[in-house]
Subunit: 361 residues, 2 copies
Amino acid sequence: MTTEHYLALIMAGGSGTRLWPLSRQARPKQALRLVSDRTMFQLAVERLDPLFSVERIFVVTAAEQVKTLSQQMPQLPAGNFIVEPFPRGTASAIGLAALHLRRRDPDATMAVLTADHYIADTEGFRRVLAAAYQIAQQGHLVTLGIKPTGPSTGFGYIERGDFLGEVNGLAAYRVNAFREKPDAATAEAFVADGLHTWNSGMFIWRVDRILAEMHKQMPRFYEQLMQIDAALGADRESQVLSEVWPTVVPKTIDYGIMEGAGNVAVVPADIGWSDIGSWATLLEILPGDENGNVVMDADLLSVDTTKTLVYGNHRLVATIGLSDLVVVDTDDALLICPRDRAQDVKKIVDQLRAGGETRYL
Amino acid sequence: MTTEHYLALIMAGGSGTRLWPLSRQARPKQALRLVSDRTMFQLAVERLDPLFSVERIFVVTAAEQVKTLSQQMPQLPAGNFIVEPFPRGTASAIGLAALHLRRRDPDATMAVLTADHYIADTEGFRRVLAAAYQIAQQGHLVTLGIKPTGPSTGFGYIERGDFLGEVNGLAAYRVNAFREKPDAATAEAFVADGLHTWNSGMFIWRVDRILAEMHKQMPRFYEQLMQIDAALGADRESQVLSEVWPTVVPKTIDYGIMEGAGNVAVVPADIGWSDIGSWATLLEILPGDENGNVVMDADLLSVDTTKTLVYGNHRLVATIGLSDLVVVDTDDALLICPRDRAQDVKKIVDQLRAGGETRYL
């Protein structure tokens, strides 16, 4: 088993608002210290150690985030940051990055990884990743499928088909179908049949394979990529990119490639993965104190308070008689909601947007 | 009816913690904007207009509060601030102030008023006060008794006796007894019998009468007062005060004078009075928005939020799915508790005190 052609690509361009008011446009989830004193991005890089040296870790992100991310991970080579002029969907970001990675190593096998997801079992993650690389080197487009911990309706599902083989005790299967976010009954059925895993957005494939697939399924985009590729490393690179990119039709990798591709494999993974879809998630994944309270960056002084999340701003937070509440305290905005309403943070953000309150976005 | 001998004394030395974290030792309740954009002290002075010109309004307070209070009410003559070296109970503060008021006018009748209570019906308050002065001029020690709005166990009660007379449609009664804070059953009985009113801590009496009563019931203190009186206005005034005051035994006016005095009268008053005993009180006395939310100094952005109090710090406060909650946001501390636990703010303050966290006190 040779790993010399392994490269990793961390997708770090997201700008979610589900963790408002901590996450903002200028301070997206990957840049936040959500689960420890390291940011999500730092954790995403660090959990690749020792599988990858930093020279083999690439980051694709938006122009306005490069500075923050490179400051958080100064050991990453500056040349490993691949900058999208602006977001055009995951397929486009991956295509652009694939060009860069192919320049680095025409025989590269790349993992597409996320910067803003939590993985509790980092050693298990590296084992799954190592297995997936081997399967990808055989020409498969490999997805990591997360074994469901419940019938979530918040994720797409991957239905596995024939057994493909086993690497280091980890099974790989042919993918039968990608399923969109299901309704509750369908989700129950998916979890019950044992054939479905969550689509984590993590993929492993040979660079030549994904570019060939783009050529086939996204011919217009592939043409655009080739225009960019021709300018890569030349003086006119940024000019060409800024001319071509606005003409790219936004597309996700799932719709653009995976659903229509042949030879797709899934490696089911049980690695304590979470996308931290809302503040409530942190109450589930982080260890609480003796009352089940999760406190970050705050000095909590509590009376009769249980299962409450306090993300602080280095201030004293005093609580009395609370349970299952979320409190997020930032410089200019304070959020308070029950954990089972944490999804509705979106409504607050929508109201701010509708009201033109951009300073809070 | 002549009012030329009417003087008012506002007791503004309190340092309560029931409205923590807004109220602090250095920022007591009377200095706060709790019910409007005027502070409680400003409201206490302003509701005397037009009954009193500012020359007739005196303030007794602690040394460390003089600056704040005089800045809040610059129109009050500096000489009208009477400064206690440190608190020694209400009887002592009133005794000290009585000396000063007697100097101003030996024939004065004084009202002892509170700086940190809310009075919704200020016109009614002035009518009650005007009536009480007339009764006091006859030699009675007059108390304002607040008609109970419910069987509160948080106040002392005054039991009225014989009808004394009526002034401007307001009845005055002889006081039968002062009752300490009752248990719930007793409070129910007090409210049911119609004879009991709450002890508001507001009194009206002739200055010579209260000093004579102190001479009789608190002879040791009266002696100390006479030592101070002899030095009043002289160079050695502050030296004498600072020598005598530490030897004064702390006593409240209720225990020290009222319970043992003869010729005590009560004027029952229905003036929308509240002592703002906790944050929950503000939800009762202040008008809410269409969802019953009371918001002060905050920009509230709410989804499904009702009957919630938000005292802000000029920040955005976003709430989802909350009801009957109290949120108080200050520079260095944030309080969150259900309204029915607002009394337990005391427990937080006790914990801070026990932990030596004086910066929050």
